[in-house]
């Protein structure tokens, strides 16, 4: 089995338009959540979100590209450019033929569906633009990354709701670890912040109207975000041979299914995913210094997740740190695990643990060190990133300092 390292990272989200800006915001505990701004927002009950601001597609992409790129694809391409440029990898010859792109998204081109349904239903139009299908399809972002960067190996899109990115990155990791691909571009993106996208979530009655406060006793729901996180996963010797800057190592993962309920989380399913990741990585639970929580800020997730962590880690649960950066960038749904991986890289590489902001009251059901409100300097060598999706599909990734 090969070792797998991360040699490039890119992002765009409510905290910043690139990795340095995002990590700085995470260090400073900045809240990227604010008033939403788009058509018909006044008809929503939920009017806050982690919206990307100041991202103008015009000027970045030409007219032809604009007609094919939904906002989730635009985010993906911007983040992929940052990640692949940082990695310094040139995809040509054999590396190009074997390397691919595996991305996660829950909704794909949601605003393209929204805009065109509006045109035919509300405005009564009988004709839509010919590129509606290639623009909204869930694999559009992965396809455009493959075309732009000459990635000719295995490429596809994974859709497992809020765990999509973690499932995607786990797939990419296993492809590099097995020797199937020398490098993979992976991560995920989401752009659901449009009228229909937020209205659908509103229906579940799990959204907060004021803030995302994971683990806090007065938490009152999740807040949506948008954006992308993209990484270059590369075989260790391949990266070393070309003198690449290694951000950290990916050492294992596990996936599990609750097989119980379509929306309620399961302690057992979450615990099995964490235990599985430790076993796959061949590490002891005492090695884990930080967990980037799924931490949605809903009543159900946070207490279930904390209980699962307590079960898996035993006495060590009180020694490790666990935080939810969703309090800052919102829940990016299918893209969330990818943006949250940045907090893991920051912990391993810079020794800074991103905080859980908005934390106001301790909850006895979430009695762990959630790094409340202020980032903390701490040396950690192994971290986990949790993602537990609707549908009971879980994926946990383990990373190590190099």
């Amino acid at each position: 089995m090969k070792r797998v390292v991360i040699t490039g990272a890119g992002t765009i989200n409510a905290l910043g338009h690139d990795v340095p800006a995002t990590m700085q915001a995470m260090r400073e505990g900045v809240c990227g959540i604010g008033a939403l701004s788009f058509r018909d927002v006044e008809r929503l009950q939920i009017q806050i979100g982690g919206q990307v601001r100041g991202f103008e597609a015009e000027g970045r992409y030409n007219r032809q590209q604009m007609s094919l790129y939904d906002r989730f694809t635009q985010f993906t391409l911007a983040a992929a450019k940052e990640a692949i440029t940082q990695s310094g990898l040139i995809f040509s010859g054999d590396v190009s033929a074997k390397s691919g792109v595996v991305l996660g998204t829950a909704g794909g081109g949601v605003s393209t569906w929204d805009d065109n349904y509006r045109a035919v239903y509300e405005e009564g139009k009988n004709r839509v633009h010919p590129f509606v299908v290639p623009k909204l399809m869930n694999n559009a972002a992965a396809s455009h990354v493959s075309m732009e960067w000459n990635l000719k190996g295995p490429s596809f899109t994974v859709s497992t709701a809020c765990a999509s990115s973690n499932h995607a990155m786990a797939q990419a990791f296993s492809m590099v670890r097995s020797g199937m691909a020398p490098a993979m571009v992976t991560g995920g993106s989401e752009s659901m912040l449009c009228f229909g996208g937020v209205k659908a979530w509103e229906g579940l009655r799990v959204m907060s109207r004021d803030a995302c406060r994971p683990f806090s006793a007065n938490r009152n729901g999740m807040v949506q975000g948008e954006g992308a996180g993209i990484f270059v996963f590369e075989e260790y010797e391949h990266a070393r041979a070309r003198g690449a800057d290694i951000l950290c190592e990916v050492i294992g993962f596990a996936m599990s299914s609750d097989a119980s309920d379509i929306v309620m989380p399961s302690k057992a399913g979450a615990a099995r995913a964490m235990v599985g990741a430790l076993e796959d990585a061949g590490i002891n639970r005492e090695d884990v210094g930080y967990i980037n929580a799924h931490g949605t800020g809903t009543a159900a997730n946070d207490k279930t997740e904390c209980a699962a962590v307590a079960d898996v880690f035993g006495p060590h649960a009180d020694q490790l740190m666990i935080s939810s950066t969703k309090s800052m960038h919102g829940h990016l749904i299918g893209g969330t695990g990818a943006v949250e991986l940045l907090a893991c890289i920051m912990a391993l590489r810079d020794g800074v643990i991103a905080p859980t902001i908005g934390y106001e009251e301790p909850d006895p059901e979430c009695a762990l060190d959630v790094v409340p409100n202020t980032a903390r300097d701490a040396k950690v060598s192994v971290v986990l990133s949790n993602a537990f999706a609707f549908g009971g599909m879980n994926a946990v990734i383990a990373l190590r300092k190099v």
Binding site: R63, Q64, S67, R127, H129, P130, F131
Partner: protein, 85 residues
């Protein structure tokens, strides 16, 4: 704008050219418009002239709306507009 100028504007935009560089004799192929560009041009024509162009990308020659050149497209639009009136 007359029909010719409107069609030239649409085709020039697709071909990423200035309207002066597109003449009635220009073929879509010579302008470098690919199959997606053809479909998008037809969409733009339908929108601009409020007509429905019978066109199936699987078999472009199956219809009597000839998309070979700017001139044949104009002729097709004129016929559809006349049928509409």
């Amino acid at each position: 704008m007359n029909i010719t100028d409107q069609v030239i504007t649409i085709i020039a935009e697709q071909a990423l050219l200035e309207p002066e560089d597109v003449t009635p004799d220009s073929t879509l192929e010579s302008l470098g418009i690919d199959s997606l560009g053809v479909v998008e041009s037809i969409f733009a024509i339908e929108e601009a002239f409020d007509i429905s162009v019978p066109f199936n990308a699987n078999d472009p020659s199956a219809t009597d709306f000839d998309i070979t050149s700017v001139a044949t497209i104009i002729k097709g639009i004129e016929r559809l507009k006349a049928e509409q009136a």
